[in-house]
């Protein structure tokens, strides 16, 4: 980012827009030929629609899906809600049971809580010590009236990865609709929805260099899960998501998917190496502990805790020099200790002493070394004024 600007290690909250995507979107915003409503039948409308359909192909390709299976939304929060609320509300045959995990993103958690208010029975699975869901546990949770299993591919706080393919096979075998929240993994981990046996998959652009405010929901064709829309009117997106399509947003999403897909393997190797370089650098601030496991994990997320350190003071000490987050940045407005870390068995105080450092495509080794140095310095400074015994007590 800009000179003198803080080092940005909060990619899991949102990634900076790729300059190539910014350029394309800017052209798109100015191009007189692309100002029409993609729903209009006249020439300007058709020109916009053509660009939308081009992007639909790019967005679909990232997850190995056919273009017709993509519904554009305003982001992963909407996709996740459309998938969870939509599939559960539309499930007939008295299917009123949903399986999910305690470590899901707020969007999924709160959608599931809404289902409970609507009378659905929820099974809230606890994660293993590595933060991932155990397929065996899921198999055991399935019931004859299970309408939906909803799990994330990769966790936004710990980077823990679920074995989607295994869970997908299981759901297919039991004829249960399987939704995957891939907001953190799309563009970072290889995804093939058909191989993975996924019925619904949510993702968004702004986690890997695309614009904020646009996302997609993958909807399998055969067998096709029934879905009740969240918003009605006009019959756009095959009647599943009404509202005029935002051409520039969708075009930017499309390019971001193509760029991410093209260098997925090389990027994740490089980012994973930087993550371990950061972890090594932090050893100078021992005691320092890792929340969750390194592998299998998202290349870009390192969640650590510094016994005896108070999270807010650490963030403030770093403020203006290192931008990162304690707990999930998507909800870091709320100062409560992360429920994800609590679910991993951490105490409130340990969760409080934790930091989620997330790296991305623009992260450099030089930034990582400066970040490590800064973190070590700030941790030492705060520890230097602790009352005796605080380090042992607060961990």
């Amino acid at each position: 980012m800009a000179d003198g600007a803080p080092i940005y290690l909060d990619y899991a909250a949102t990634a900076p827009l790729d300059p190539r995507v910014a350029d394309l979107m800017s052209e798109c915003l100015r191009d007189p030929a692309l100002q029409g409503n993609p729903a209009s039948v006249h020439a300007p409308g058709r020109a916009a629609a053509a660009r939308v359909e081009l992007a639909r192909g790019q967005v679909a390709r990232l997850i190995g899906a056919p273009p017709e299976s993509i519904v554009f939304t305003s982001g992963a929060t909407e996709s996740v809600n459309l998938a969870i609320l939509g599939a559960a509300r539309a499930a007939g045959g008295g299917k009123r049971h949903v399986v999910t995990a305690r470590t899901e993103h707020r969007a999924a958690l709160d959608a599931c809580r809404q289902l409970e208010r609507e009378g659905f029975a929820l099974s809230w699975l606890a994660p293993g010590s590595d933060g991932s869901a155990d397929p065996g546990q899921i198999a055991a949770a399935l019931r004859p009236d299970t309408a939906l299993v909803s799990l994330m591919h990769a966790n936004n706080e710990t980077g823990a990865i679920n074995d989607i393919a295994a869970i997908g096979r299981l759901c297919c075998a039991r004829g249960v609709t399987f939704h995957v929240d891939a907001a953190q993994s799309a563009g970072k981990l290889p995804i093939d929805v058909e191989q993975m046996g996924v019925a619904l998959l949510s993702y968004c652009a702004h986690k890997f260099g695309g614009p904020k405010g646009v996302g997609a929901l993958y909807l399998r064709h055969r067998p096709r899960p029934a879905l009740q829309p969240l918003q009605f009117g006009g019959g756009h997106e095959r009647g599943l998501r009404a509202g005029s399509l935002a051409t520039h947003q969708i075009v930017g999403f499309g390019l971001a998917c193509e760029l991410a897909g093209a260098c997925l393997a090389t990027d994740s190797a490089r980012i994973r190496a930087l993550r371990e370089r950061l972890w090594a650098g932090l050893q100078a601030a021992a005691p320092v502990l890792r929340n969750g496991v390194a592998e299998p994990g998202l290349p870009g997320i390192l969640n650590v805790r510094f016994p005896g350190v108070e999270g807010e003071s650490l963030l403030f000490a770093l403020d203006g020099r290192l931008a990162t987050s304690s707990g999930s940045a998507c909800s870091s407005a709320t100062a409560e200790p992360s429920y994800v870390l609590r679910a991993l068995g951490l105490s409130d105080l340990a969760a409080q002493a934790s930091l989620r450092l997330s790296l991305g495509r623009e992260t450099t080794a030089e930034e990582i070394d400066r970040a490590a140095w800064l973190l070590v310095a700030c941790v030492r400074r705060l520890r230097a004024v602790l009352p005796a015994g605080a380090i042992e007590r607060i961990a």
Binding site: A39, R46, E53, R56, V71, R238
Partner: protein
Amino acid sequence: MSEIHAPYSPLVRDLFERLPNAGDLAPGPGAVVQGEAMALERGAWVRFGARIEDGRVADCAFRAWGCPHTLAAAALVASRMHGQRIDGEAAFDARRLAVELDVPPEKLGRLLVVEDALFGMLTRAHALQLT
């Protein structure tokens, strides 16, 4: 998942732009017959007129209200009638026409209106024993 609205085929575009044989028959020898079919609720109203000389169509014209596909179909049929013997097999096949102009399925009913108008005209020609 919105489809791009299929543009009209080049043939339809060309016929719609020129509308050959639209309007009235040029004056001339021989007898004039007409045929008309109207199905407003289906979105088509077509009228054919032809001048018959020695059992052949010397001239054929159409008038129509309808969508571009309907107008193009009427124009194409009218031009093809030129020189046809009216006791011969009228060269009209709604299915073939639909393919030629690639008419969307929901509009096939309109081609039948075109067909009705044409056959109405030919029947009248036979009745008048213009063969």
